[in-house]
């Protein structure tokens, strides 16, 4: 590790290359070393020094020439002090002189001088008869690694790899020699030569040694983790590998502290679940709470406030149109210094997605194939009654309602044989699913151009039948250098997506088990025959009622969405003067979606007013967003001072149009185009908004000890009132690397760092034009046959941004080279909350958007990584644990006039979490007669339900959330296990409420298995009241009865990989080959779940979890 550290020291001190736009991977790190960057070395030096260490000499040369030096300090310790006298002399001549008569010589590559042990010739054997060993070092993606230190173990002999990753080294005895390979951010590797003269080595990233990983920042800024001032958490491609490929946002689940990813509802509303992503809690009441997504510098649209896509019946997230394999890193920006460069859109956090790019070297080809099989985890599905349980409970309820069983509706007849039917609707709606992912990438580059091209196909046949996702994606990223100063890059991400969407809603647990989906003749069932009453002669009256058979809808209807998605970026960068780069970037996001649905004439969805009609809709959405950014980045080091600056201007436009047509009345089901429908309808909507921003950053650091960052942004937004169109946001942050202080003498402590930041951010994501007041035309505003317009929104010229004031502090400690702990705390106060609030009716409106109130989110986040087991020798067992936990508490400090606001089951009340439930407290069942009991507002038991007894109580916000990743490596095997956990918090279950009706809805809806625990006889201490068929005792009214505790742990992702031995595969011309077995959603554990009852585990998202097992093959050529 020592060498690694020295290398990093050298890098920082001696390199003046600007560290902007550095995606956080090692390969890009190298790119800056060798990238023929803006810095052109001077060739001549003037030096007059006496008896100095060689290191000082290098520093001086670096200052004058900008050449960077790479060397092994251990080796150079043998060099005596030197004296140099040079007057405007060529550097190479000076170097020759210095190394004359030493064991060392130098090699120049680009503007890097590597100091190596002297070798006499490049022939196979030297004069001394010692042979050369050659080879190539690549990373686990097959990319060559430059500057890897190759050493003969237990000697000081060593060499560095060149631009193509090649090395050659003299060894005394190839049979008994062990070579060690070390490189920043990579696991150290030892290879026993066993007589070989060619050794190719693949190095793996070291999860713990992330200290020098570059964290991507806003607008081309970047910082190494050790230099960080703000709070930004980055997930790199190796962590994203083997995660489900369905959509980009889900990749972050459990990996990033303080980021919560949850379905927006617990009822089965959408098989393409809309996820709420929350970075450090909810900061807004009415505007969006979603973070801003930025792909390669360009903000992208991920749907409206709640991720709804305009114009579409089903919202498919644009984040599912990206191929996760093309993502190099995802960085979550959380505090003010990290986000305030995004000003009015930064308040909810920012997620930066950086895509992959090529690296200098020969063309590399990578092929990946994945095939997975999916099955639902039945223990996470709502538990409902089977046929015999249903019949028992239904009959009992029927009798309890004072009915005669002779008239029990579900009595067998020629249409339905209720008593012999036992349909498991889960089986009807779910099946085995599978996923297929095939990808091919080409990448490479020369000094003047780099490229990365990938094509991939992804297919997911979901376990819920009638749902399929296909993604054909093409991605290319190319970069060209013109001369020494101008760089142009073109990035295009394009995909065509086909989504088959069928949503059975709650049918899969609501349908009665005593009903068969098919008639006796095999056709789809459309009617049930039941007894509906008693005729005057005492005979039962039979009625045929509609059975809305969604199985028939799935098989006969069409529900498809096709989307062409493009995200393109063009970037031109010009090095103005040393350290100063001007960049202009234009990004365009284009999405064209087409949704087609058809409800067939043969099932109830296409039967209108009793007539077989057929109904078709055709919806389209065209969305175009563009962003132009002009910026100047500056970064330069003067001795111990490093100064960075950024000045930028951004213009942004968002605009979409939807067109929808629908029609019903078709001759048959073959003709489904709306033109042929008897009755047709059309609709159209559009929206446009624009913003202009100016931004600036100033950063300064001294001696790698003290850091300061200042940010400012000025935003103009078309959505706001003329009085408030422009707003300013600013932030400041500082950090102190105590471990770099001279006085710091704690031997076991490697890093001790503290940081703090404060600043402001806005939230502008409201509708457009709410501020100006709106007039709407329309037929309903006509008068006496003339067209009229009325005010549809009262003007509020003072409408402005929400502003979040963020305070962040953090401490990081790393000790014993094993443990790394980072603790961050934050306090985010949002003022001027945008909220659609009741307003004086004298304004002509009832509710308008206003800036009122404030909200506070505060919490802490802890990230721990620990290398529990360090391998003694290469290939030994290694175990790394990474644990993150986050706590957020939310409090509404102030709302308009302090008036409590009831929001369904929740309440907005001052001093309370905005996710506080406001419910009548359930007091159980009266053992005397099985009647439901509640507590009144004072806490006394009552038999009468009243919403006046609602009290704010439990909240849905969990106490702690987070994830834990364990990585084990042994020889060529590795195992990674990701656990995701939630502790504390309550959920109001829509399944619980809908399916525990105590007889009220038992005729139409199957019931939860919990209902079996019911009151039957006086004295029974039952969970549920006496069930009474079709009678409301108000027991089903909203109460704490339906709250479930949320604590649970999920085994989210497990990856077992085996890397085929290199000797073996090299013969086949393959560079690397990894075979993996991946498991997703393998287990969910909750202390509150049980076999016979429903719990949070069975009603988390409305759908059961999919357990997926995938076999993956990754081959690099």
């Amino acid at each position: 590790m020592k060498i690694v550290r020295f290398l990093s020291v050298i890098w920082v001190i001696l390199s003046a290359a600007p560290i902007y736009a550095l995606p956080g991977s090692v390969q890009n790190y190298r790119e800056n070393l060798y990238g023929n960057g803006p810095v052109q070395e001077k060739e001549r030096i003037t030096l007059h020094l006496k008896n100095i260490p060689i290191g000082t000499f290098f520093e001086e040369v670096h200052k004058q020439t900008n050449l960077d030096f790479v060397y092994n300090t251990e080796q150079l310790r043998t060099m005596p002090t030197i004296s140099v006298n040079a007057e405007n002399e060529l550097i190479y001549d000076v170097l020759e002189r210095v190394f004359l008569n030493t064991d060392f010589s130098y090699r120049k590559t680009g503007n890097i001088i590597s100091i190596v042990r002297r070798v006499e010739s490049s022939s196979d054997k030297t004069k001394s008869g010692r042979p050369f060993v050659k080879g190539k070092v690549v990373d686990d993606a097959g990319e060559p690694l430059v500057g890897v230190n190759v050493q003969v173990k237990n000697t000081s002999d060593g060499a560095f790899t060149d631009v193509d990753g090649n090395f050659s080294i003299l060894v005394a005895n190839p049979r008994a020699t062990v070579l060690t390979f070390s490189y920043v951010g990579m696991k150290k590797k030892e290879i026993s030569l066993k007589g070989r003269k060619v050794v190719n080595v693949t190095m793996e990233q070291d999860a713990v040694a992330v200290d020098d990983v570059v964290i991507v920042g806003a607008y081309g800024t970047a910082q190494k983790r050790s230099d960080q001032v703000g709070s930004a958490f980055q997930v790199n491609s190796d962590q994203l590998k083997f995660m489900p490929q369905v959509r980009a946002d889900k990749l972050l689940d459990g990996l990033v502290p303080g980021v919560k990813i949850e379905p927006n509802t617990d009822s089965p509303d959408n098989t393409r679940v809309r996820y709420n992503i929350r970075v450090r809690g909810d900061a807004s009441l009415a505007a969006s709470n979603e973070p801003l997504w930025v792909i390669d510098g360009t903000p992208v649209y991920t749907g409206g406030h709640t991720n709804l896509m305009p114009g579409m019946n089903t919202s498919v997230s644009p984040l599912s149109f990206l191929n996760p394999d093309d993502i190099e890193s995802m960085t979550v920006l959380k505090d003010a210094t990290a986000t305030s460069l995004f000003g009015a859109n930064g308040a909810n956090g920012v997620i930066l997605v950086t895509t992959k790019k090529g690296a200098i070297g020969k063309t590399r080809i990578n092929l990946s194939l994945q095939y997975g099989v999916a099955q639902i985890d039945k223990s996470t599905a709502p538990k409902v009654l089977n046929a015999s349980q249903y019949m028992e409970l239904a009959k009992e309820s029927f009798v309890n309602a004072g009915n005669d069983l002779r008239y029990f509706p579900y009595t067998d007849n020629e249409l339905n044989s209720y008593s012999t039917t036992n349909t498991d609707w889960m089986d009807q709606f779910y099946d085995l699913g599978n996923t297929l992912n095939a990808g091919l990438t080409f990448s490479g580059g020369t000094n003047t151009s780099k490229y990365y091209v990938s094509g991939s196909y992804f297919e997911n046949n979901a376990t819920i039948k009638g749902n399929k996702q296909q993604r054909f994606s093409l991605y290319s990223n190319t970069e060209f250098k013109f001369g020494s100063k101008l760089t142009a890059s073109f990035q295009l991400s394009s995909s065509y997506n086909v989504n088959d969407i069928f949503n059975p809603g709650t049918d899969y647990y609501d349908f009665l088990p005593i009903v068969n989906p098919y008639n006796a003749d095999g056709t789809f069932r459309l009617y049930n025959r039941t007894i509906s009453g008693k005729a005057s002669n005492g005979e039962p009256v039979w009625t045929d009622s509609h059975f809305f058979n969604s199985i028939a809808e799935r098989e006969e209807n069409l529900n498809q969405q096709k989307t062409l998605y493009n995200n393109a970026n063009v970037k031109l960068a010009y090095d103005v003067i040393k350290g100063l780069t001007y960049t202009v970037q234009a990004g365009v996001e284009y999405q064209s979606s087409r949704e087609e649905t058809y409800s067939a004439r043969t099932n109830w969805s296409g039967i209108i007013s009793g007539e077989p009609m057929g109904e078709a809709t055709r919806n389209s959405l065209n969305l175009l967003n563009w962003t132009v950014i002009n910026r100047l980045n500056y970064n330069r080091t003067f001795g111990k001072h490093t100064v960075g600056g950024l000045l930028g201007l951004e213009a942004n436009s968002k605009d979409y149009t939807t067109i929808g047509v629908s029609g019903y009345g078709f001759i048959n089901d073959e003709i489904q185009d709306v033109s042929y429908a008897e009755t047709r309808n059309a609709s159209n909507s559009s929206s446009e908004s624009k913003s202009v921003s100016m931004l600036a950053q100033l950063s300064y650091s001294y001696d790698r000890r003290y850091y300061l960052t200042l940010n400012g942004r000025r935003d103009g937004n078309s959505q706001f009132g003329s009085d408030a169109r422009w707003a300013n946001f600013a932030s400041a942050g500082i950090s102190w690397n105590i471990h770099n202080e001279k006085f710091f003498h704690i031997p076991f402590m490697n890093v001790l760092k503290i940081k703090a930041s404060y600043g402001a951010n806005g939230n502008s994501r409201l509708g457009s034009q709410e501020a100006l007041g709106l007039y709407t035309y329309g037929e309903s505003y006509n008068y006496a046959g003339e067209s009229g317009g009325v005010m549809s929104g009262a003007p509020n010229s003072k409408l402005s941004w929400e502003t979040t004031y963020m305070t962040n502090w953090g401490v990081r400690m790393r000790f014993l080279d094993r443990f790394d702990i980072e603790v961050e705390g934050y306090r985010n106060k949002t003022k001027n909350l945008l909220s659609q609030l009741d307003v004086s009716r004298t304004t002509g409106d009832t509710r308008v958007y206003r800036n009122v109130g404030s909200i506070l989110n505060k919490g802490w986040e802890i990230t721990i990584s620990s290398e529990n087991l360090k391998p003694r020798k290469n290939g030994g067992l290694r175990w790394i644990t990474e644990l993150n936990m986050a706590h957020n508490s939310n409090k509404l400090l102030e709302i308009y006039n302090g008036i409590q606001k009831n929001m369904g089951n929740y309440v907005w009340k001052e001093e309370y979490d905005i996710h506080t439930f406001n419910l009548v407290r359930w007091a159980g069942v009266d053992p005397r007669d099985g009647a439901p009991l509640w507590y009144d507002a004072e806490g006394n038991i009552t038999r009468v339900y009243s919403t006046n007894n609602r009290v704010p109580g439990k909240k849905s916000t969990p106490f702690v959330t987070g994830g834990m990743t364990n990585t084990l490596a042994y020889k060529d095997f590795s195992l990674r296990v990701l656990l995701n956990y939630t502790i504390g918090g309550y959920a109001y279950s829509s399944f619980g409420r809908g399916n525990n009706s105590d007889g009220l809805n038992i005729m139409s809806t199957n019931q939860s298995v919990d209902q079996l625990d019911r009151w039957q006889n006086p004295g029974d201490l039952a969970l549920n009241p006496k069930p009474i068929w079709g009678v409301s005792t108000q027991s089903v009214m909203g109460s704490t009865r339906y709250l479930y505790k949320r604590t649970n742990v999920r085994l989210q992702n497990v990856v077992l990989s085996y890397q085929l031995p290199s000797d073996f595969i090299h013969k086949a011309g393959i560079n690397s080959c990894i075979v993996s077995l991946v498991g997703d959603n393998l287990l969910v554990w909750s202390p509150y779940s049980s076999k016979n009852h429903n719990s949070y585990k069975t009603s988390m998202s409305g759908y059961p979890l999919e357990r997926v097992v995938t076999l993956s093959l990754n081959v690099g050529f």
Partner: protein, 467 residues
Amino acid sequence: MSKLLMFVALLLTITACSDFLEVKEKGRTTLPVFFSDVDGLYAGLVGAYNKVYDYYDNEFSKYAEVAGNMASMKYVTAGSDMVDQYNFTSDPSQETGAVGYIWRRIYEALANVNNVIEYQPSVLAAYPTQEEKCRSILGEALFLRALCHFDLCRVYAQPYNYTSDASHLGVPVLLKTPGPDDNPSRKSVKEVYEQIIKDLDQAENLLNDIAGRDIYHVSLKAVYALQSRVYLYMEDWSNSLKYAELAIGNVELAKGDEYLNMYRNLSVDGEAIFRLNGINKSGKLKSFYDTSCMPADTLFSLYDNADIRLNLLTDDATGTAYCSKYNASQIPNSEAKRDDPMVIRLSELYLNAGEAACHLQDYTLAKKYLKAILTRAVDEAYADNTMNTYSNEDLIRLVKRERVKELCFEGHNFFDLIRWKEDVVRESRSNSSMKFMAYPSDYFVLPIPQFELNANKNMQPNPTVNN
């Protein structure tokens, strides 16, 4: 360095283009854009009429009847439409009932009216050649503003004569649509009426066509008519009489089928002066009088058996009590759900004139107008006979009785009762929980809705027991 300059230049260009942030929304527009020309201004006026129709064809008109003593409700279960006003159990929380809706709908109308008035001068300045049209738009809008203020005052404030100087609480006077933070407060009834008179006087100056475009739009005659009614409420008898006579001109009352057809087939030939047009809308009053509200026995007892007006109060087929003033059987273009609420018609002006003349002790004049009403109702003999049974001093009772009979279910009953400082006395078999309520009463005004009080800290509640 040149690049740096280029960058700065770029920066300046984009910021200079402040137009960049001006975005037009399709399908709907911002206020300034909507009101940028005469067509927009006119469309705004059409929208304002639409909103006035909205409040007339709703709880506002129903309230004047169910709170009065001539109507009987069919359903009195809790939560039925208007039952709280029938029982005088209105409370401020009834946001989704008459309490909240009347307030909200009239203010919606008022905001739309005020927007037209606010933007009219700038449109006129930009299109001086269309002065005539702009003038009449403003005139009509001013009338509608007066009407909104007047109607709000009638519902949420005690009548003008409740205090001797009308200094009791009225409603806010709005000459411009307030912003969300303006929070207007209530003015005294006197101040509200002053503004009403001011608006009507200005409208009188702006409108020159006595008959106007049609009965569905404000005409000079409608302005006179409303002036007459406002002065009547103010007990300014001579002005009331003056404007009533200006509105009447030499026009005679509609008679026979012409009278009935105003209601039966929405004929424009009757005596309507200003009536709201419900074309292509689904009339709420129609369904209310179809199913929920009937004339009470107290009303029937007032009529002579031959009275033409009974035709509008009984079901032709069954002969049972049924107000058919909104149930046109032969509607143009077969719009089955249409009704056209009456705002002002000629008979009212005859009655205004009669009432004013009584107070001015010009009994001959009063009798002239009463006779026209009674003659049209039955015949001349009936008119003379009836009038002969009343002494001059008592004639006012006859005027009031005829007013009740003539204008029933047209939004006058309760407002007239409390203006006359009379107790509300219901029929003995009334199903209301309130059969008698003495004047004066805090219950005679609706409470200011709680939502308004919550949102507007300057809004004073009504001093009723409920507020």
